[in-house]
Symmetry: D3
Subunit: 245 residues, 6 copies
Amino acid sequence: MNVKKNELRVVTIEKDYLIHPEGSVLITAGSTKVICNASVEEKVPPFMRGEGKGWISAEYAMLPRATGTRNIRESSKGKVSGRTMEIQRLIGRALRAVVDLDALGERTIWLDCDVIQADGGTRTASITGAFVAMCLAIYRLHLEKPFETFPIKDYLAAISVGILEDETAVLDLNYVEDSSANVDMNLIMTGAGQFVELQGTGEEATFSEEELVELLSLGKAGIKQLVELQKTQLGDEITSLIEGE
Amino acid sequence: MNVKKNELRVVTIEKDYLIHPEGSVLITAGSTKVICNASVEEKVPPFMRGEGKGWISAEYAMLPRATGTRNIRESSKGKVSGRTMEIQRLIGRALRAVVDLDALGERTIWLDCDVIQADGGTRTASITGAFVAMCLAIYRLHLEKPFETFPIKDYLAAISVGILEDETAVLDLNYVEDSSANVDMNLIMTGAGQFVELQGTGEEATFSEEELVELLSLGKAGIKQLVELQKTQLGDEITSLIEGE
Amino acid sequence: MNVKKNELRVVTIEKDYLIHPEGSVLITAGSTKVICNASVEEKVPPFMRGEGKGWISAEYAMLPRATGTRNIRESSKGKVSGRTMEIQRLIGRALRAVVDLDALGERTIWLDCDVIQADGGTRTASITGAFVAMCLAIYRLHLEKPFETFPIKDYLAAISVGILEDETAVLDLNYVEDSSANVDMNLIMTGAGQFVELQGTGEEATFSEEELVELLSLGKAGIKQLVELQKTQLGDEITSLIEGE
Amino acid sequence: MNVKKNELRVVTIEKDYLIHPEGSVLITAGSTKVICNASVEEKVPPFMRGEGKGWISAEYAMLPRATGTRNIRESSKGKVSGRTMEIQRLIGRALRAVVDLDALGERTIWLDCDVIQADGGTRTASITGAFVAMCLAIYRLHLEKPFETFPIKDYLAAISVGILEDETAVLDLNYVEDSSANVDMNLIMTGAGQFVELQGTGEEATFSEEELVELLSLGKAGIKQLVELQKTQLGDEITSLIEGE
Amino acid sequence: MNVKKNELRVVTIEKDYLIHPEGSVLITAGSTKVICNASVEEKVPPFMRGEGKGWISAEYAMLPRATGTRNIRESSKGKVSGRTMEIQRLIGRALRAVVDLDALGERTIWLDCDVIQADGGTRTASITGAFVAMCLAIYRLHLEKPFETFPIKDYLAAISVGILEDETAVLDLNYVEDSSANVDMNLIMTGAGQFVELQGTGEEATFSEEELVELLSLGKAGIKQLVELQKTQLGDEITSLIEGE
Amino acid sequence: MNVKKNELRVVTIEKDYLIHPEGSVLITAGSTKVICNASVEEKVPPFMRGEGKGWISAEYAMLPRATGTRNIRESSKGKVSGRTMEIQRLIGRALRAVVDLDALGERTIWLDCDVIQADGGTRTASITGAFVAMCLAIYRLHLEKPFETFPIKDYLAAISVGILEDETAVLDLNYVEDSSANVDMNLIMTGAGQFVELQGTGEEATFSEEELVELLSLGKAGIKQLVELQKTQLGDEITSLIEGE
């Protein structure tokens, strides 16, 4: 296995992108662009009421023309695809792993990740951007009324790695690479280097333990860079709160 | 009736906003921001096949957090609201009024208007922006293979006018004005000053013929400015084609 | 522009058409036949509860064979079409313009407009008939327990006007005229001659300000006749209450 | 078991009730009123194509205010209830029993039964009325191009019988009787006295073989009267064709 | 009419088939296999709350490959077919006929009948099996807290009878016989020999009163055998409670 | 981290469980029971037609009472949950990794995995069982007309591993263990020890690289046992074909 590409595409995170949401971010990774909005709702889903615990929920969608050919809107089809459901469940689950839901209190943070332009890695960009939007929204709550314990416990970022048809291992795949990859893996990790989610899939192919080790190593390096970018964007006040200083 | 405000809010039109669509525009009007994407599909709806005639179809949606409080996605609800249907039917119908569908040939132009930030006037901004996106897409077709007759016959823009509770007539209402207006009117007009659509509604209120005349006068002035902006953005080559020079 | 037809088709309003509804009317306009039923429900939609204010809501449907060829039922398709939604929103909004919702008290009047035979003008006939059905239902409430202020403030009727392909302006279009009209306009007005709603649409065509003036003039004459018919059908007791004598 | 009521309610059948359908009937039975429309469609469902055989399909619905309290429309609910499905399957199946589908040729007759006022027995009135509407539509086809074999082989009518809480057997139950009946039976029979469908149901109750015999006897007498009425309404030409003279 | 087959296929009832349900049965009839599970829910549908009365509700489904060719899942289609609704309404209604809902108290017994292999008679097997599952669940409630009156008043079983194309009357039709039968009748009866439901249908055919008598006689004999099997399976303790000894 | 449990629960695979499917298996793992049926359909999805390549598709469902409390059927809810979609996409994707779709030819193998009793590990049992059902169906095709290349290239099995709250690593979690686990990982591997899919998820928790290594080691041992069981059940003829001898 060769390693052709071990660098991230150009990533930018623009804070306060829209005016209405409690937290709003435009994240770009290469040509992929995702608007990540965080909304605070002062209640939790029915099955959690009265427990004093918070919840993080995510939704994901693409504009019909985020892609090279136009997709039919899921609202027109009247149902959400399996792919969309899988991604939005993943985003919510990942964010909850770095949040102290008891400290958050009985409220829901909604993360809406809307892909306006897609070129591979939309789910990982959504997670990396949604984390920042969530920090902004929770920090706003903190300014209104300080939390005893700041609910965000660590940073969270996600990246894809894969093995192309020519056996090359690649970090941060774009659409063309992703479409032809034999193995596709998404890594979600914390600032402390812990795994939150690991999803490796052979696409009509399989992978060995050696390849797994190689992919994890590539991915960890990418995550580290993303977390650095998040810290820069969040600024000192918020990073101090997360790092519990 | 007083006239408090006879000026448009700041309007900008950014061409080629996204890379994939055949025509792509970001239009802003005050705090309202709409992405208008035009896609070319080389077929028409089943009921029109074989007639050699084209079709223009539009879809409209808002991001959940385009507004002050979060709205549930229509894809999650599994159905499109009456308001959304009304707006997307309106956009398509209005655009078709300035297109020679025979000249277009048997293909569909899809216009996707996605509101990423809302502050009143989203449907009129969608129409004004979608017109530009449509021009870009049809011009691209023209470059590939020139039309005998350029299918776009005139400019098209839309604006809202209204009467506030204090009887003031207002051009280009923002959300706060719109919410409290007694009368709300949407005007869609061509560059030549012809009406394409006129929708005036009393909101638990009514209006007189004098008020109608006043509103039309305000609206026409606004349309004129929008058409000028469209011309500037489209540039000489496309305006020459539209004006048939 | 010529004026070929400035007379309404034959219009009849049959009161108490069905036995169950609180108000029931069969309205015919030429070959168009609509059953308009008013039902009183002693509660309001969730977003209005506890405000002491009433609500008027409308639904519209066609029998599958109201038209020349059979339409698939919307219940079989599992969703209501954009056209239906647009019409039922219009009917409800128009009726609310002549009702004092505070005086009505915390209850909903449902208006069901079911077209059993269609020949153009089904939405305007629905509004003209639904107004009468609503009066009957509210009058019945008044007989049970008199309102301090009778909630209906004025008459309400609707008519269509249009411009045919040969540039003739026409009042009260039937299906054949409507299908081929260049411009189609629906006018909803009160007994006092105020506008409630004005919807003018160029069908792949546009219209000038002169044409607009002509259409409004035709329409106002038609509305006047419809309001006279409503008064006759409602009878002295109800008209006195509406006119506040 | 006593027999309190062995007479039908007043039944009327008005032919050619609406102008568009190929066959149209308004049937009333007591206060129950059903519009039965027959439409001819020159194709059959996909699973039958190319066999040269016809099909009979039925749909059934109630206006929201056909009943004492308003029902939510099935189109608004987005799905058809189990009761509606059961009834429309029953109507189609029953009609097919007296039609020679081979003789009909590869076309579908749609029967739309729309209850505009309900007072018990809506499904049986629908069948009795739909039979007449179907005869009118098929006769119209016959006039255009005579069938070698007229496709309708016999008359078809339906009636309900039941046992009330006081053990009285009753023919043609109205809504009040039906609601409180212990046993409810629908009989669908041909002019020749053959059974097409027999559905007897104990409502939280059961019935004996003696009771069954009594109910069948009451029902058969009712069917006979309905078939006589159908013959009168259909007239000599159509009855001759059905009776194969 | 000849009687070719007056014997049931081999029927077995396996109690406590699954571990979670309050009552669970696997019933086989020839090659037909149905899992019948009874669940106790300590509430009733909204329209019955506060009356102290119980409810019995049933659902019916087939595995996609219960049949010779694969059927699309109803969950994938997003709606339940008319046939499924008809059957589940029938099962619930039939079971309620032998239950004293007042004695049951304000709770619902859900009966889930899932056909894992189909060879005709799935609805009748479902009823016969669901009765046993319901007895087991109600008996379990009785053991926890004895009922003053045991809510089950009698046995309940169901069987099909039919007339084949060659005029032979047949008991307990398998799929091949059922598909080609001219007349298909389902009988649901109590242990005391009372009718609960009788549904006879001519499939593009009709039947005479003599044929009806013959079919009822065949069916009653089949029901008797099924009730004997139910008694054996339920055992002395439960049968004593049902028989009120 | 301690290793408390490194043994599989009792696993059984019953071949030819139902008579209709081309391949049918009942797999049990502890108290979990899943019916896995394979159906052959002689066509592929629209997007693949004409390429001569086959497809493997899977559906997954639970009986309402497979679990301790009753779940509402997805067909009644009218939509498939996100969890169900995620699982059925996973099953199909995993199976495709060991199938040579070109060798299979233009047909679809449908795998229906219906959980009749659930106690943790339903998705992994579904995959392990579905592989056997698929082998049976493809072998039947082979007997009818031998493949040049037998399309199944390797064995495929799946197992779950996890880390409990007390930091114990566990193989093959039951429901109680699964509900309280901090980390939950599903491993899908081939007979040759290659990974097909690896999904590790921290449930409001994270995991380190050491823990990952430990979990993989536990899982691989479990997969090995499952593959041995599959070989025994499939028998010599099929294993020879898979192993290409």
